[in-house]
C-alpha cells in the first residue's frame, strides 16, 4: 500500500520534468511579488522611458544605462539630469532641477557636477581649450560614451586611448606617447585591485586598505585629463611610491592567508595522527 503511494508520487513528478519553461514559471510565481524580489524603487523616469510610447532611440536608454558603471553604483537619471523620479508629473520639471540632455559644449560641466577634480584638469588641458575656443574637440562623451545609441558608460580603462578614437582629430602618435607614459602605473594599479579581490575571496578583508588604492587611482586618472605627458612622467615616481606602500599591505594579506593554511594544516595533521593512534589502540590481538 505504501509502496503504491510512494510510487505514484514519484511517477507524478516525472511529467513535470518535461514541462518546459518551469524556470520562468517559478520566477513569475515566486519572484515577481514585491516581497519576494528586489525592492525596486519607483522611478518615474524609467517607467516612461521603457514604455512603447517612446521612440526607439529614447526607449533604449534605460537598458543601456543598466549596463553602465553608474547603474552599478546606484547613480540614476535624476542624479545627472535633475527632475523628480518619484512623481511622474514633475519628473521633467525645471522646478525640480530638470536640465535635460546637455548640448555638446556643455557636456564637461554636466559631468563635472560630480566629477569635480577631473573637470578642473580637463578645462586646463588642450582638449578643454579646444572645446571652449572652437566648439570642436573632445568632450567627456567622445571618449567615455553615454547611454545614446548602443553605448553605455563603462568603467574607465587605459584602452579608451586607442587609434580609432584619437585619430578623429589628430595623429595617433601623441596619444600613443601618453598611453605609454600611463601604462606601467595603470598596470600596477590593476594588479593591486585584482589582488585585493583575491584576498577578499580568501577571507582577508581589506576595506581599509582599498581606500588609499582608490584614491591613488582617482588621482592618477585626474592627472591624465591634463593631457600633459611631461606632467604625467614627472609624477609617475610619486605614484609608484604610493603604490608600493599599498603593495606591502597586499603582501601582508597574502602572508596571512598562507599562515592560516599552515595552521589549519597543522591541526589537520594532529587529528589524523590522533585518529591513527585511536585506531591502533583499538586493535587487540584476540
Amino acid at each position: 500500500m505504501r509502496y503504491l503511494f510512494i510510487s505514484l508520487l514519484v511517477i507524478f513528478t516525472f511529467p513535470s520534468f518535461a514541462v518546459g519553461g518551469y524556470k520562468e514559471e517559478f520566477e513569475r510565481e515566486f519572484m515577481s511579488k514585491p516581497w519576494a524580489g528586489e525592492q525596486i524603487e519607483e522611478n518615474a523616469c524609467i517607467g516612461c522611458h521603457v514604455s512603447d510610447k517612446m521612440e526607439p532611440k529614447l526607449k533604449n536608454i534605460p537598458q543601456n544605462w543598466q549596463m553602465s558603471i553608474h547603474y552599478e553604483n546606484n547613480v540614476s537619471c535624476h542624479d545627472c539630469h535633475g527632475g523628480d523620479p518619484k512623481d511622474p508629473d514633475m519628473s521633467m520639471s525645471r522646478q525640480r532641477g530638470f536640465i535635460g540632455a546637455p548640448k555638446y559644449t556643455e557636456v564637461p560641466e554636466f559631468c563635472g557636477k560630480c566629477h569635480v577634480g577631473i573637470l578642473k584638469n580637463y578645462l586646463e588641458s588642450g582638449h578643454g581649450e579646444a572645446l571652449k575656443k572652437t566648439a570642436k574637440g573632445p568632450n567627456c562623451v567622445t571618449c567615455h560614451g553615454s547611454h545614446k545609441d548602443e553605448q553605455f558608460i563603462q568603467k574607465a580603462n587605459i584602452d579608451i586611448i586607442n587609434e580609432q578614437r584619437c585619430t578623429k582629430c589628430h595623429s595617433y602618435e601623441r596619444a600613443m606617447i601618453m598611453k605609454q607614459a600611463l601604462f606601467l602605473t595603470e598596470k600596477k594599479i590593476g594588479e593591486l585591485e585584482d589582488n585585493f579581490g583575491r584576498l577578499k575571496k580568501e577571507g582577508v578583508f581589506t576595506a581599509d586598505d582599498e581606500k588609499p588604492l582608490f584614491r591613488t587611482h582617482a588621482d592618477f586618472r585626474a592627472l591624465f585629463h591634463t593631457v600633459d605627458v611631461d606632467l604625467v612622467k614627472n609624477q609617475t615616481d610619486d605614484f609608484a611610491k604610493r603604490l608600493s606602500i599599498i603593495e606591502e599591505r597586499v603582501q601582508k594579506g597574502f602572508r596571512e592567508v598562507r599562515f592560516r593554511q599552515n595552521f589549519s594544516g597543522f591541526l589537520l595533521f594532529l587529528f589524523v595522527g590522533l585518529a591513527i593512534t585511536v585506531f591502533l589502540l583499538g586493535r587487540r590481538s584476540e
Binding site: N73, K113, C114, H115, V116, G117, I118, K120, E210, K211, P212, L213, F214, R215, A218, D219, A222, F266, L267, L270, F271, G273, L274, T277, V278, L280, L281
Partner: protein, 136 residues
C-alpha cells in the same frame, strides 16, 4: 604491552598538543585588544593657523585639516572622504569641504551636506592648552 603503552603515550601527547593549539588561539581570541599604542600626539601653536582659515596637517599618516571656524572655534577633521577614500578640499569661501572625485560635500563639522558619502568625516580629538593645540 609495550606497544599499547607507547600508543597511550602518543595519544596523550597528541591530545595535549591539540588541546594547546585550541587554547592558545582561544586566549588570543578572547583577550582584549591591546591598548592602542599611544599615538603620538601632534602639537602646534595657535599662531600657525591663519585666523579664519585652515591648516593641513598629517596626523598618524592620515591627511587632516585644522579649521578655525569663526563662531565655533577650532576643529580637526580627517580629510579622507568616507565615500571611496579620496582627499577632500577645503573651500574657505563657501565654508565647506568638497571631494573632487564624486562631489561629496561636507560642512565644517564634517557632516555630509550632499553627494554619495555615507558617513560624516572623522573628527580628530583636539584640545587647546593655552597657546598650543594638541591633536590626538
Amino acid at each position: 604491552m609495550k606497544r599499547r603503552n607507547f600508543l597511550k603515550l602518543l595519544f596523550a601527547f597528541l591530545g595535549s598538543i591539540s588541546f594547546a593549539s585550541f587554547v592558545y588561539p582561544l586566549v588570543r581570541f578572547l583577550a582584549p585588544p591591546g591598548i592602542e599604542a599611544k599615538t603620538k600626539k601632534l602639537s602646534l601653536s595657535k599662531g600657525e593657523i591663519p585666523v579664519g582659515s585652515a591648516k593641513n596637517i598629517i596626523f598618524n599618516n592620515t591627511p587632516a585639516i585644522i579649521i578655525d571656524r569663526a563662531d565655533k572655534g577650532l576643529v580637526a577633521l580627517s580629510k579622507i572622504c568616507t565615500h571611496l577614500g579620496c582627499i577632500v578640499e577645503y573651500d574657505r569661501a563657501k565654508k565647506r569641504l568638497l571631494c573632487p572625485c564624486h562631489a561629496g560635500v561636507y560642512d565644517l563639522e564634517g557632516n555630509v551636506l550632499s553627494g554619495p558619502p555615507p558617513k560624516p568625516l572623522q573628527k580628530l580629538p583636539l584640545k587647546v592648552e593655552g597657546e598650543t593645540i594638541v591633536i590626538g
